[in-house]
Amino acid sequence: MTWFDSPADAAARLTATGYLTDHATATTTFLAGALEKPLLLEGPAGVGKTELAKAVSRATGAELVRLQCYEGLDEARALYEWNYKKQLLRIQAQTGGAGDGVDWSATHDDIFTEEFLLTRPLLTAIRREEPTVLLIDEVDKTDIEVEGLLLEVLSDFQVTIPELGTVAAVRRPFVVLTSNASRELSEAVKRRCLYLHLDYPDAARERDILVSQVPGIDDKVAEQVVHTVGRLREIDLKKAPSIAESVDWARTLIALEIRELDDTAITDTLGVVLKHASDHERAVKELKLGRTVPGKR
């Protein structure tokens, strides 16, 4: 199966599912599908990295298998695990039923079969015969050792299980890795992936995203939100507002029935977009909101 026919096709089909792409994203997504290489997405939080994987799965009708990474993630959680309890039961049932007659090698062969295998996301994605999007979320949160585990999957699309042998992919999944770059990933992982840095969208695209994501928003407010968020990103803040946060903001304004984003409205709802006290202070100073505030404090 080809995932997308061309960058333009990728852009059109992703847009149809509600994910608005820019040129770079569309081209890279197309390439990831055509070259059958994993796609590493890096960028600040909340710019739509995870969302892109979901959009690909929606656009192509593939199922999304997700591996959420965290500190302490190990083989047993990422790849596969043997079901110890079931294996124990099996051994006990056998010895109980037929006495000592059953020899050990038969039992051994018996308990390391598919029946006792618990597949975790990576193995699941590889074994699936239907189209699959494999999302490995926040890779930078894992320990270095897990990257080693990923290498076999990412380069050869196979997993080696000592007792069963090598399981190779029947159909290569579309792999998306996301990272906030809180740790530098190893060269080995990067070399196997296509790389795309997702950044905040330009004003026009962000306005389109708002309009498509927030029903009932009128153009003027959308314009104002995008404009203010753009300003906030220019000031250097600890945590610049993400797309997700500007969408939240727009929703908040709708809920509060604010039709005009003036200084008072910004001051009142700034908490939706800025999550640090020092960022708050700085925004008030830079946007010159101070003039309207003293009366309220």
């Binding site: 770079a24 055509a34 110890y84 770059a181 809180s182 740790r183 296509l194 795309l196 840095h197």
Partner: protein, 488 residues
């Protein structure tokens, strides 16, 4: 015995150019492996060559693996795969296809441009430029065309000797002076119902962009003339994390400052992980037995008691004289961004007098404010106005000697240029012997140590001195003092 690779086949020059581009990327510090190189070729095979933006993204997706390298990548891409050829106008029909770097003959054929550089032409051009920059929306292609025209007309320096480039962005920018158009553009934008701040910012942004395009265009023309490799060697700056503090320009400093916090965060994560990994202490018998219930009493996983984390007291002594001011600010800011990995931390600045600056680094404070406060406090650190390391150390020993203790790590930041004054290295020696560990970070290249008034060799005998010229070296160093500190 294998025949030479298909001697009959014609070479388009495209492959050579591709390889030269890859070489240039490697030269600029990007690690491009053979596998990635092959990927990029495979990717290009799937795309239409006619769309330059697509080609650029395909290269970026396959070759680039770090956002910090993006600027370098873009510059080199423009040099090797220029958007225009020659003056642009005649090349725009079929911009592709011109292969190798040596088409020097082609450049001279156009002769003098249609309109020569004279006062009337300059005025006419400035008017058109102002008009374009004032427009509500502007498009990239038009701007690039304007930049090309500007270099072609006002940046040409024909008749220069061989080896000197005949295009200059500097000359063109001096002549046209787009900065002077600011007021005019602001006025026009104001009438476009933008408020004043906004208009000023927009104008500055547009002029900045245009200036960058003019510089790009000059680079492109020089590349056309002298071969891309030459330009790649000469004009491409190192990426921001390997750029030396002392040679950074204003814009670079701004970019570096933005890098400081992400860098500190990455380092903190790394350190926390490593400490976590090393934390495995003695066996926790109870937890191990309890966990073994799940596996029928077989202790498959063992649990351990955590070790007490080991932390560091840090005292930073920092030269803030003009020559190293940038370096000092970055280092202080970086070390303070890592506040949570040190148990306690005090910072002092000096020129010839010592001044404590710890209070400026309030938790959660805004880095820009902190830097401004630091700059303002510099005046306290100077009594006589000339760097004097000897006096500063003596002063520190007298006034703040109690800051140092057996658990302290002492960090001195400075270039050790002391204006030929008395060095008082024995005072520093006494300070060093009273602390657990001590390091001196010097922002100068090692080969310059000991030249002129540099007292680096003398001080290096008293305490270990390290070269620390850019963000990468700084990060490595902090990793060393916190991460792999062998407890003594």
């Amino acid at each position: 015995m294998a025949a030479s690779p298909s001697p009959g086949r014609e070479r388009s020059g495209l492959l050579d150019r591709h390889l030269a581009f890859i070489e240039a990327l490697r030269g600029a510090g990007l690690s491009v492996s053979l596998a990635e190189d092959l990927d990029s070729v495979a990717a290009l095979g799937l795309l239409h060559w006619s769309d330059r933006a697509e080609v650029r993204e395909a290269f970026a997706a396959t070759l680039l693996k770090k956002q910090a390298h993006r600027t370098t990548f873009d510059t080199l891409f423009d040099v090797y795969f220029p958007p225009l050829v020659g003056d642009g106008a005649r090349g725009s029909g079929a911009p592709g296809g011109d292969g190798g770097g040596d088409d020097a003959g082609e450049d001279d054929d156009a002769g003098p441009p249609a309109v020569r550089d004279n006062a009337a032409a300059l005025q006419e051009f400035r008017d058109r430029l102002a008009e374009m920059l004032q427009a509500g929306e502007y498009d990239e292609a038009e701007m690039r065309q304007m930049a090309a025209e500007m270099i072609g007309r006002f940046g040409a320096m024909p008749g220069r000797g061989p080896g000197l480039s005949s295009w200059s962005a500097y000359t063109a920018l001096q002549r046209v002076a787009p900065q002077e158009l600011t007021d005019q553009i602001v006025a026009a934008l104001l009438s476009n119902q933008l408020d004043e701040d906004e208009a000023t910012r927009t104008a500055a942004r547009r002029i900045g962009r245009f200036t960058r395009q003019v510089e790009d265009d000059a680079r492109r023309r020089i590349a056309e003339e002298k071969g891309a490799d030459h330009v790649a060697d000469v004009t491409v700056r190192p990426s921001i994390d390997t750029l030396a503090f002392t040679s950074a320009r204003r814009a670079d400093l701004e970019e570096m400052r933005k890098e400081i916090f992400p860098l500190a965060r990455r380092l903190a994560t790394k350190l926390a992980k490593e400490q976590h990994a090393k934390r495995r202490g003695p066996l926790d018998f109870r937890r191990t037995v309890r966990a073994s219930m799940a596996t029928g009493g077989v202790p498959l996983t063992t649990h351990h008691r955590p070790k007490r984390p080991h932390r560091t007291d840090l005292v930073v002594l920092c030269d803030v004289s003009g020559s190293v001011a940038n370096f000092a600010q970055f280092t202080l800011l970086f070390v303070f961004a890592l506040r949570e990995v040190f148990q306690s931390m005090r910072a002092f600045t000096f020129i010839d007098h010592v001044h404590e600056v710890t209070p400026y680094f309030r938790p959660g404070a805004d880095p820009a404010d902190v830097l401004a406060d630091l700059a303002a406090s510099t005046s306290h650190a100077a009594l006589w106005g000339r760097t004097n390391y000897g006096r500063a150390f003596t002063k520190f020993d007298e006034d703040f000697g109690d800051a140092l203790g057996p658990k302290t790590t002492l960090l001195v930041l400075g270039d050790a240029r002391s204006n030929y004054s008395d060095l008082h290295e024995e005072t520093l020696g006494r300070m060093v012997s009273s602390v657990r560990r001590a390091w001196w970070l010097n922002p100068e290249h090692r080969r310059n140590w000991g030249t002129g008034d540099s007292a680096a060799p003398t001080y290096a005998e008293v305490m270990p001195m390290l070269e620390c010229r850019n963000l990468v070296q700084l990060e490595d160093f902090v990793h060393r003092i916190v991460g792999s500190a062998p407890p003594r």
